[in-house]
């Protein structure tokens, strides 16, 4: 899959940017604050997922404007597609694929697959359980239509359930108990699907992460994944029953897949707390590389790779080994200094200055 052309209108600091991307590697240089990462962010939104910078629609729209537009020409399985996204600062954003309205943004994942490497990826290892859950879910959402539906329903059921628990105001009347048990049955059903999908994914990527970790770190070490949950063994029905009193008191759902964690062990030690910064960095890279390999296999196509200023954070050895691991895919990378490791050969170089693009000299 490749993105051939991108237009950004009133997107962040890009008033009107049009650019063509190389089918191999495109390098974007420019000083910090001029709009390199904004450009990558614009590209990253094409799969319909949230911004990898966690940005709201409002912050994506150039200040003073009502909406931003992202348009892109994409080729997948030899067919051309046109994606047009209107991001509204306050209101409902819209997206069209080949002039047809797409109801759910995430359904764009059927057309566009992207893996983003960002300096913040260290948080995948060091951060809270939510970040790892999110990583797993995003991978599943990217390549599994059914999971997308299950997740959307789950998110809605949990909102309804929390609302009901709040209505209790600390006391569970007979009527509310009846209603709660109705919502519980859907909550349990969807939770089980989410849990088993996540466990399967973790099993599938574990060998990939092991391979990539040794390649990036340059040494043979063992990575293990453990899906940590408090409800799977006893069953969610039982777990909910045990915690009901506490849930009513606090007015929110306290057990379920939204509370699970994926523990990543390196040589049988919890990487979050026991690995060095260098090991954590290698692990994060291995996760992204595995994400790409997993998706490529699932969708039978190579996802677009976005590298946001990744090499500036890495020592020479890791940079070199990361380059060796990069799969054959369309790659867009940013760099403030313009120096990139040997082994990467940009077919196109672009410069960003104050939200404007100019052609850099090509190799």
């Amino acid at each position: 899959m490749i993105v051939t052309q991108l237009w950004l209108i009133d997107f962040r600091n890009h008033t009107s940017t049009e650019l063509q991307l190389d089918s191999g590697v495109t390098l974007i240089t420019g000083q910090n604050g001029h709009g390199k990462t904004n450009l990558l962010e614009g590209l990253s939104l094409l799969n319909g997922h949230k911004s990898f910078r966690g940005a709201t629609s409002e912050s994506l729209v150039r200040s003073g404007c009502e909406f931003a537009v992202i348009r892109a020409q994409v080729i997948r399985h030899r067919r051309e597609h046109l994606i047009e996204m209107k991001i509204v600062a306050s209101g409902r954003s819209r997206v069209q694929l080949n002039r047809q309205i797409v109801k759910r943004f995430k359904d764009l994942s059927d057309t566009v697959s992207i893996v983003v490497f960002s300096p913040d990826d260290l948080e995948l290892i060091k951060g809270s359980p939510g970040i790892r859950r999110n990583f797993i879910d995003e991978v599943l959402l990217s390549c599994d239509k059914k999971f997308r539906l299950v997740k959307a329903n789950f998110d809605r059921v949990i909102k309804q359930r929390n609302n009901l628990l709040k209505q209790c105001r600390g006391r569970l009347s007979k009527e509310l108990e009846e209603s709660l048990s109705i919502w519980n049955s859907q909550f349990i059903e969807l939770s089980e699907v989410i849990g088993s999908n996540r466990i399967q994914l973790v099993r599938d990527i574990e060998p990939l992460v092991n391979t990539f970790y040794s390649q990036v770190a340059g040494k043979e070490e063992q990575v293990n994944f453990r899906y940590e949950t408090t409800w799977m063994d006893k069953g969610l029905d039982q777990a909910l029953h045990e915690i009901q009193h506490e849930e009513v008191r606090r007015g929110t759902t306290l057990v379920g897949p939204h509370r699970d964690d994926v523990i990543i062990d390196l040589n049988n030690l919890v990487s979050r707390t026991h690995s060095s910064q260098g090991e954590q960095r290698s692990l994060a890279l291995a996760l992204r590389l595995s994400e790409h390999a997993y998706m490529a296999q699932k969708i039978d196509d190579s996802p677009l790779i976005l590298l946001d200023d990744v090499f500036s954070e890495l020592d020479e050895g890791r940079s070199k080994r990361l380059v060796e691991c990069l799969p054959s895919a369309q790659i867009v990378l940013t760099s403030a200094t313009g120096t990139i490791p040997v082994g990467i050969h940009p077919g196109k170089k672009l410069k960003v200055l104050n939200g404007h693009i100019s052609l850099g000299e090509n190799e």
């Binding site: 609302n163 109705i182 049955s185």
Partner: protein, 198 residues
């Protein structure tokens, strides 16, 4: 911000379903620009609809009479009754060829919107079921999580009455509205209905 009558108008539109603050403003200003005769026509249409149209006392569908056209039609099949969320679902089922009785709940369970069983026409349904000779109750709430929750609630409530309760097949796009299902899909969903276990 605006003169009181203008602000009132904007606020009223803002309370309509699916209308955000921006759209409310847009509609209000559009109306203010209209020739007087045209805006009066709209006002009259609202008043007339409110005066003449109410709800059928039997099935709670919209109706000009106390008992609606469908409920008073003696040629319809009395054995089965379709429970739906909204009057528009009755229209969809009519198109799909269903010719039994209806009961309109006027919504679905939705804690986020403050809709519990008491806000729906469930009590009225239970009264009906003890008065009318209905063999099968077909739950045709929407195939989304609120519709499923409502179906499950009904199945549990109606179990003591000993009536056969079925649910339309989920051949419908999950997460969708009955209203958007085409006639053939809905017809198949009706044919493929299964018994609901409480």
């Amino acid at each position: 911000m605006y003169d009181l009558p203008v602000q009132n108008l904007i606020d009223e539109f803002g309370r309509l379903p699916g209308v955000g603050p921006k759209s409310a403003q847009r509609i209000a200003f559009y109306l203010l620009k209209l020739p007087e005769a045209e805006s009066l026509r709209l006002a009259k249409a609202i008043i007339e609809a409110k005066e003449r149209v109410g709800f059928c006392e039997q099935c709670w569908n919209i109706s000009e009479e106390q008992i609606c056209r469908l409920c008073s039609d003696i040629h319809r099949d009395n054995d089965s009754l379709c429970v739906v969320e909204e009057p528009r679902d009755v229209v969809a089922l009519e198109k799909a060829g269903y010719r039994g009785r209806y009961h309109v709940l006027q919504g679905a369970l939705n804690p986020m919107e403050g809709i519990g069983p008491e806000q729906l026409r469930i009590k009225e349904l239970i009264v009906r079921l003890s008065n009318e000779e209905i063999q099968e109750l077909i739950v045709c709430t929407n195939p989304n999580i609120e519709g499923e929750a409502t179906a499950m609630y009904l199945a549990r409530q109606l179990k003591p009455l000993g009536i056969k309760v079925t649910r339309i097949a989920s051949g419908l796009p999950v997460g969708g509205d009955l209203e958007y299902a085409d006639e053939l899909t809905l017809e198949r969903a009706l044919e493929g209905r299964r018994e609901l276990n409480a």
